[in-house]
């Protein structure tokens, strides 16, 4: 996030797109409601009629995967009416004329044809977003998990820069991260092309710095993304796989295919809290420690690095994750002999400028938000206050593209996937909690009352869902949360593994698969 959670309470307008905030980021949703009560405007754009929509001034349900068109349409209206922030564009950005050219095409009429959102609504959204400064834009996986994920994100940034909402308090472009420490994992170089602090492996200075610090010449070429790894396993280039705290057999698209390539591996290592579907196939399983059993830090969605203190020692034979990695590395010939997480943290901060001013002592309970480059630096509640990391903010002229797979005669329904409020990802942690499990015990597929009526489906009845990649059976939930022709199903449930159906087509740059759109058909199961 460019900004901080607390700041949303003082936003003039909050635009939520592709995020089911009350269910997936409930505390942020609380901030949004407070903002709303204080008089902020709220715009919700989501293919589903989500809970948060109840509180919105404008709600639109754009067609699955049509985000770029919708955002371009808003920008078209803003530019046509001169509502954009000339001064900000002039001083802080570049590439506006290219964008302007592309926007020319996206008349409300055309956008209505693509997105299904009425011209009037597009105009109202544009006016509301541009007219209530500062406006915060919030998005989640509904923006990123598309073959056009990067384009979608760029469009969000375009909109924010266009209205001077970047580098201001209570504004910004705010991706709500999906896991407690996914921000931290990315910050620490948990990506194939960068070292900690997003220092590129291909950058010579950075590479030398880390090679010296770690006493080993490090590769200058980026590694593989998850999507590439699946391919690598398929064609035999990858022979062994280590999986830490992930359950790809349920969480990856087209899981039938993944099953198949996992079998080709010579060696599979899984480290997790509990036996997962993936772990069941592993040659070796390491029991990791839970949040209550290990010390360390977490960096949350607002870039706030916070300490986690263990309450108890790991149970059974479990070990803290850092310890397992150190032992594994040492056994493989590269000695890692850290005595505690703090020692690792100190080494990391010495190599990562944005974390440079952090120490365990300074983190305290509240933590610090990066960038925090010096010992006296108070941390940074919002980014890009005076300039962008690359100097000027660049507008990217982005054109709308259809999702990889659109419904057709054979597979007439749109299917989208996501989370529901009581479960988390593949349920490895939430389904073993009796309280959370009792909230929702099985998978389901949301079907609109109209479609259910047409197919004579009853609530709770099992239905067969088929895509080009596979088929599953899952109970029907009839609800007006989805419109005609749209289906939604959470991916938490191993009994109803919806990712057997999803499309592995991915974004060419970020390599993120299109979990949010695929085409399926429904079949009533004969009694």
């Amino acid at each position: 996030m460019t900004n901080s959670m607390k700041e949303f309470e003082d936003s003039g307008c909050i635009f939520v797109i592709g995020s089911n905030t009350t269910e997936t980021h409930p505390i942020i949703a609380g901030r949004i409601m407070t903002a709303k009560e204080k008089g902020a405007k709220l715009i919700v754009a989501d293919p589903r009629n989500i809970h948060l929509a109840e509180f919105a001034d404008i709600v639109v349900h754009h067609r699955l995967g049509s985000d770029v068109a919708l955002l371009n349409g808003m920008m078209h209206v803003i530019v046509k009416n001169g509502w954009h922030d000339d001064k900000h564009i002039e001083e802080r950005t570049e590439g506006f004329s290219d964008l302007e050219e592309v926007l020319e095409d996206y008349t409300p009429k055309k956008v209505e044809a693509i997105t299904g959102v009425g011209c009037v609504d597009i105009e109202r959204m544009a006016e509301m977003y541009a007219g209530n400064h500062p406006a915060a834009l919030l998005y989640a996986m509904g923006i990123t998990q598309h073959t056009t994920g990067v384009d979608n994100v760029k469009s969000c940034c375009n909109l924010a820069m266009l209205c001077g909402n970047v580098g201001v308090r209570s504004g910004g472009v705010n991706p709500l991260r999906g896991q407690s420490n996914v921000q931290g994992a990315c910050d620490m170089g948990g990506l194939p092309n960068v070292f900690p602090g997003y220092q590129p492996v291909a950058d010579q200075t950075a590479n030398e710095k880390f090679s010296n610090a770690w006493g080993k010449a490090l590769p200058e070429r980026a590694g593989l993304t998850l999507t590439d790894m699946v391919k690598g396993m398929g064609d035999g280039r990858i022979k062994a796989l280590c999986v830490f705290g992930e359950n790809p057999k349920l969480s990856d698209p087209d899981s039938g295919h993944l099953d198949h390539v996992l079998k080709k591996l010579d060696f599979l290592l899984v480290q997790d809290l509990y036996m997962t579907e993936t772990a069941a196939d592993a040659d070796v399983f390491f029991a990791g420690a839970s949040v209550a059993e290990e010390d360390g830090t977490y960096t949350n969605t607002e870039r706030r690095c916070m300490r986690g203190n263990k309450a108890i020692d790991p149970l059974g034979k479990a070990l803290p994750d850092w310890d397992i990695i150190c032992r594994l590395s040492s056994a493989m010939g590269y000695a890692m002999d850290y005595s505690c997480p703090e020692e690792i943290f100190d080494e990391m901060t010495s190599l990562t400028p944005s974390y440079g001013g952090m120490t365990y002592e300074r983190l305290g309970i509240n933590g610090l938000q990066w960038p925090c480059p010096g010992k006296d630096h108070p941390g940074t509640p919002y980014l890009h206050k005076d300039n962008f990391s690359r100097g000027k903010g660049k507008f990217h002229a982005v054109k709308y593209l259809d999702p990889d797979e659109m419904p057709d005669e054979d597979y007439p329904f749109f299917l989208t996937t996501g989370r529901m409020f009581s479960h988390y990802h593949t349920g490895t942690m939430t389904r073993v909690s009796p309280h959370l499990h009792s909230e929702q015990k099985s998978g389901y597929i949301e079907v609109s009352p109209k479609d259910a009526g047409d197919m004579m489906l009853n609530d709770g009845e099992n239905v067969r869902v088929l895509s080009r990649r596979g088929q599953i059976e899952v109970p029907v939930k009839i609800t007006s949360r989805v419109g005609e022709g749209l289906l939604f199903s959470p991916f938490h449930f191993r009994e109803n593994p919806i990712n057997r159906l999803t499309n592995p087509a991915f974004d060419p740059i970020a390599k993120i698969p299109e979990f949010k759109v695929c085409a399926v058909k429904l079949e009533k199961i004969a009694e």
């Binding site: 009350t22 609380g30 409601m33 407070t34 709303k36 204080k38 008089g39 509180f55 909230e439």
Partner: protein
């Protein structure tokens, strides 16, 4: 060392208590903390602070596994009232509890509570227009028509994210199996929660129990005026049964022991 420290140390040393539950400042935040005989010097770090946690709930938890343990508690007025309720419901044994009292609640002599409560921000205009302001008195929430009351309360309940924070923090919510998780009563797996059943059930359960500490409202991420709702519940209980939770020491009118497990409301 102040007087409170002396007393607590003395109690621990003389084995009047085995454990003291109070607050300690950690990285600038007062947090609940156990003080023990083994680590008696730590008692010097004990503070009153403005923090409010259901310390008696922690004590009840300890009591459930270590019934022999004698526990000292730093007790504000609200903690004291909650302790009384826990005694009435046999969740704690008064013989095992010692308190160091802090008088802090507002009284005719004192306008403001010396605690974290009453420092809340004023309600925003939307809440004033279509919701229920948190700092109303029950009578003030009764000026609206029936239809409007329902709309206003429903708006508030609509915000609920079903985190169960209100129940989890509540010193007098101690049931092993909570009705709020009972699928026959409350629809599962959906947001918003079933309106108004979820909040109605909890409100009913607070009759004769809620001691008006406001912790639930502090904990509620949706800022629902829960304290106000339960205050009304208390007023009805006082009016119909002449019983005040936390101050009257008798059994609650809502507890009937024995075979008769279903309680019919007395109609007057």
């Amino acid at each position: 060392m102040n007087m409170m420290h002396e007393i607590v140390k003395e109690w621990l040393e003389q084995e009047k208590i085995d454990l003291f539950i109070g607050y300690k400042v950690v990285d600038g935040h007062p947090l609940p903390c156990f003080f023990t005989r083994e680590n008696i010097d730590d008692v010097d770090n004990l503070v009153e602070s403005k923090a409010r946690y259901p310390l008696e709930k922690i004590a009840a938890k300890v009591y459930s596994t270590h019934p022999e343990m004698k526990i000292g508690i730093l007790a504000r007025d609200c903690n004291q009232r909650a302790l009384n309720v826990l005694y009435v419901w046999n969740q704690l044994d008064p013989e095992k509890i010692e308190t160091v009292g802090i008088n802090c609640c507002p009284s005719p002599a004192r306008e403001h509570a010396d605690c974290s409560y009453l420092e809340r921000e004023p309600s925003g205009p939307l809440k004033t227009l279509i919701g229920i302001e948190n700092n109303l008195k029950p009578e003030q929430a009764e000026v609206y028509s029936q239809e409007e009351r329902f709309k206003r309360w429903s708006y508030e309940f609509e915000k609920c994210i079903k985190c169960y924070g209100c129940r989890n923090i509540c010193p007098v919510c101690f049931c092993k199996e909570c009705s709020l998780e009972h699928s026959d009563l409350i629809k599962k797996g959906e947001l918003p929660v079933e309106i108004p059943i979820f909040h109605l059930v909890r409100a009913v359960h607070m009759a004769g129990r809620c001691i008006d500490c406001g912790l639930c409202e502090d904990a509620c991420p949706a800022n629902i005026p829960l304290r106000l709702l339960y205050r009304e519940v208390n007023q009805i209980t006082a009016r119909l049964f002449d019983y005040r939770a936390g101050t009257d020491s008798g059994q609650s009118p809502f507890s009937i022991l024995g075979e008769n497990v279903t309680l019919e409301p007395m109609s007057l």
